[in-house]
């Protein structure tokens, strides 16, 4: 009996020592392989875009069947980039996109955080109903709102006394400042901040705005960063709305500019060059905010 029980015990102790290390190694290789695969899936289109931006159209298609599609080989030049500057007012488009996106982000952070603060901290009748109604708007796709929104924007009095907001920067910004998703992110984050801090501030004589400004917002860095990114990306990528409301070339954002290259004979090299140039600001914003973005997602449980 003793022998019978001792043997399995010895085996149980000896085998895991080597197999655990081996399985750990296999697992780490597996994780590494999965990461490399994911990097490839997400990174290769970007590599293709960047590399193709230096190639003439015929070579882009000629290289498609081989690994050369991802390598800067063959007839490499800056011709496509020169072509872009020759074809579209690139600096103007980028400036417009930066202005529209940055203003939408800044105003969005202010408006949505204030609304979220009120819903999270100030008790009033119908608070939950208002929050529910705001959240319900999340299920309505923008495409269904586009035409009614266009109608409204065309009826509103403008700052200069004329009627209608069409063909302005403002019409590209204002309709997207109040955002239910951003508001909910702030609301969720503010709810996680202990209310004792508000009470302490109140004891010191702070009012609601002081609490918002000096207590809540300084503690909400990750939420602000997340809202900034989630507001910046759609504002930067905005395409349908500017098509509908902007007629003057000098007010057009960068994303609409990509259509300039889709003619009877599409200039794929120039499209790649243009796409590369308008992707850089987005990557820069993401890299600048990525730590806060990840922290916020981890802490709030929000899945993008």
């Amino acid at each position: 009996m003793t022998t019978q029980t001792a043997e399995p015990v010895a085996t149980r102790v000896a085998v895991p020592a080597t197999s655990k290390a081996a399985s750990d190694r296999i697992r780490s290789w597996g994780v590494m392989a999965a990461r490399i695969l994911l990097c490839g899936v997400f990174g290769l289109p970007l590599v293709f875009m960047m590399v193709s931006s230096f190639k003439p159209d015929q070579q882009i298609f000629g290289d498609l069947g081989s690994v050369n599609a991802f390598l800067p080989v063959g007839d490499i030049s800056l011709d496509n980039y020169l072509g872009v500057f020759d074809r579209v007012p690139f600096a103007q488009f980028i400036l417009n996109s930066v202005m529209v996106s940055v203003l939408t982000v800044i105003l969005g952070i202010l408006v949505n955080s204030m609304a979220a603060f009120a819903l999270s901290r100030i008790e009033f009748r119908g608070q939950k109903v208002i929050l529910s109604v705001i959240l319900a708007t999340l299920i309505v796709p923008f495409e269904t709102l586009a035409l009614p929104l266009l109608w409204w924007c065309n009826q509103l009095p403008y700052f200069d006394g004329s009627i209608g907001w069409l063909d302005t920067y403002a019409v590209q910004i204002v309709p997207f400042v109040a955002n239910a998703f951003s508001l909910y992110l702030f609301y969720q984050y503010f709810d996680s901040i202990p209310r004792e801090l508000d009470e302490a501030a109140r004891v010191d004589g702070a009012g609601w705005f002081r609490i918002y400004r000096s207590v809540i917002m300084p503690l909400s860095g990750p939420a602000i960063a997340t809202v900034a990114i989630l507001t910046f990306l759609p504002a930067w990528n905005s395409y349908l709305w500017p098509l509908m409301v902007v007629q003057t070339e000098s007010l057009r954002p960068a994303m609409v500019g990509i259509d300039y290259f889709k003619q009877m004979a599409t200039s794929w090299g120039q499209i790649m060059a243009y796409a590369s140039m308008i992707t850089i600001p987005v990557l820069a914003v993401f890299i600048a905010f990525q730590r806060s973005f990840i922290n916020s997602i981890a802490s709030s449980g929000v899945k993008g």
Binding site: F61, I109, L150, S162, Y169, A170, Q247, A265, T266
Partner: protein, 430 residues
């Protein structure tokens, strides 16, 4: 660490500065000061197309310099999204005075009340090729400086190598001959799919590119006697024969179900032997292949060879404060001088004989004259009914389904049912 207060102040300052700029309005809505010329806004689909935009700008500049009553202001939009911009502007009642319109859309936009008929231009437009003048309900709504024509592009050396007869405008390939051509090219083994009909294209390409074969078989997109039904035209025996032929090209391996993103580049790179494209390919293909390039007429499937007709045209909107200025500009811009200018700069088929004679290559016997002959001899306009855009969508969907293996007769029956329902639902666009 930067204090929150500084960040907040910085953000607010940025917002305030940018907001000041954000309140300015675009030029299209500006109003003219008293005594200055009346504003005539003009929209074109040519943003990014330097050749055509330059030509249109020349006409606008010439017009503005020729008189002091009106001032035409040009706004260019990218072609790919132009229609959405126009429809949105129409919804907001902010259409420009003058605009260019893809010809198949003219009847719909006229019916919808976007376009005003052109007046007093009958003599001028009588010199234009019929396919460049857009009419609906007996009225002329738009005219174009040029047209384009469909053509098969091939290498002369390849056709000679495979013992294939080079067809001419008077003796195009017949259906049987084309079947033999496809068989020979496929048997050569040089190409996986020797024929490329640009099946990776989207939108308007489908009815424009493939309804001519349907019409050559004897079918059509709709019955053109009263434009009330597609029954018999799009699902009759002849239409079904077309559908079977079209699907057969894929089933027999002659053509890809979906061609590459740039079929012209594929052809020039030797990935296909026969390319179904348009006269716009003339210049780039000749640049690469020189005399080896041949531009062949469409196939005669029994009812004569056919090509699509109608390209970009110019008209006036109903939403113009200076409607007389719009009509005045359009008259000024319809002269042969400007037909020549635009057709030459865009290398398209000029709308008038005088312009053709003045453009090198389009003169009788010139290298591009063949396209003009195809256009004059084989053009069938896409149906001039406000329901065309729906017909086009249904036809494109049916053709794509058929290429993907759907049963031809049933698929065409469904398309007919939908088209007829749409025509009826709109009271036949009366």
């Amino acid at each position: 660490m930067i204090p929150f207060k500084k960040i907040a102040v910085g953000l607010l300052a940025t917002a305030l500065t940018l907001s000041l700029g954000a309140c300015s309005k675009g030029g299209s809505t500006s109003t003219a000061a008293a005594g200055s010329p009346a504003d005539v806004s003009l929209w074109t689909h040519n943003a990014g197309n330097k050749a055509e935009l330059g030509a249109i700008q020349t006409i606008v500049d010439d017009y503005n310099a020729s008189q002091t009553k009106y001032k035409v202001n040009l706004q260019a939009f990218p072609q790919d999204s132009y229609n959405q911009s126009v429809v949105a502007a129409a919804a907001a009642k902010k259409l420009p005075c003058v605009l260019d319109i893809d010809q198949p859309n003219v009847s719909n936009w006229a019916w919808a009340g976007y376009l005003a008929p052109l007046t007093g231009m009958d003599d001028l437009l009588g010199k234009y090729m019929p396919s460049t003048v857009a009419k609906w309900n007996g009225k002329t709504y738009a005219y174009g400086y040029y047209d384009v024509a469909l053509t098969w592009v091939a290498r002369k050396s390849v056709l000679t190598k495979y013992g294939i007869r080079i067809p001419t405008i008077d003796a195009p390939w017949t259906a049987a001959e084309f079947a033999d051509v496809a068989k020979k090219l496929k048997a050569g083994g040089e190409w996986t799919n020797p024929i490329d009909m640009m099946t990776g294209g989207s939108g308007e390409w489908w009815p424009y590119g493939y309804s001519p074969q349907l019409q050559s078989f004897g079918g059509d997109l709709i019955n053109r006697t009263d434009y009330k039904t597609a029954d018999g035209a799009l699902n009759g025996d002849k239409a079904v024969a077309w559908a079977k032929w079209f699907a057969g090209l894929v089933n027999d391996g002659y053509m890809a179900k979906k061609s590459g993103a740039d079929p012209q580049a594929d052809f020039l790179n030797g990935k296909s032997a026969l390319l179904w494209t348009g006269s716009w390919a003339g210049t780039p293909v000749r640049a690469k292949l020189a005399d080896d390039a041949v531009f062949l007429p469409p196939i005669d499937f029994g009812n004569g060879p056919k090509v699509g007709g109608g390209s970009w045209t110019w008209g006036a909107s109903t939403n113009c404060a200076n409607a007389q200025g719009a009509q005045d500009y359009l008259k000024f811009a319809a002269g042969d001088k400007y037909v020549t200018k635009v057709a030459k700069d865009t290398t398209n088929i000029p709308a008038t004989d005088a312009a053709a004679a003045a453009i090198p290559g389009y003169e009788a016997g010139g290298i591009n004259d063949i396209f003009r002959q195809y256009s004059k001899k084989f053009t069938v306009l896409r149906p001039e009914t406000p329901g065309y855009s729906y017909i086009a969508t249904e036809f494109a969907k049916a053709a794509q389904d058929i290429l993907n293996g759907a049963e031809p007769k049933a698929t065409l029956d469904t398309a007919v049912k939908n088209i007829d329902a749409n025509q009826a639902a709109n009271n036949y666009f009366q």
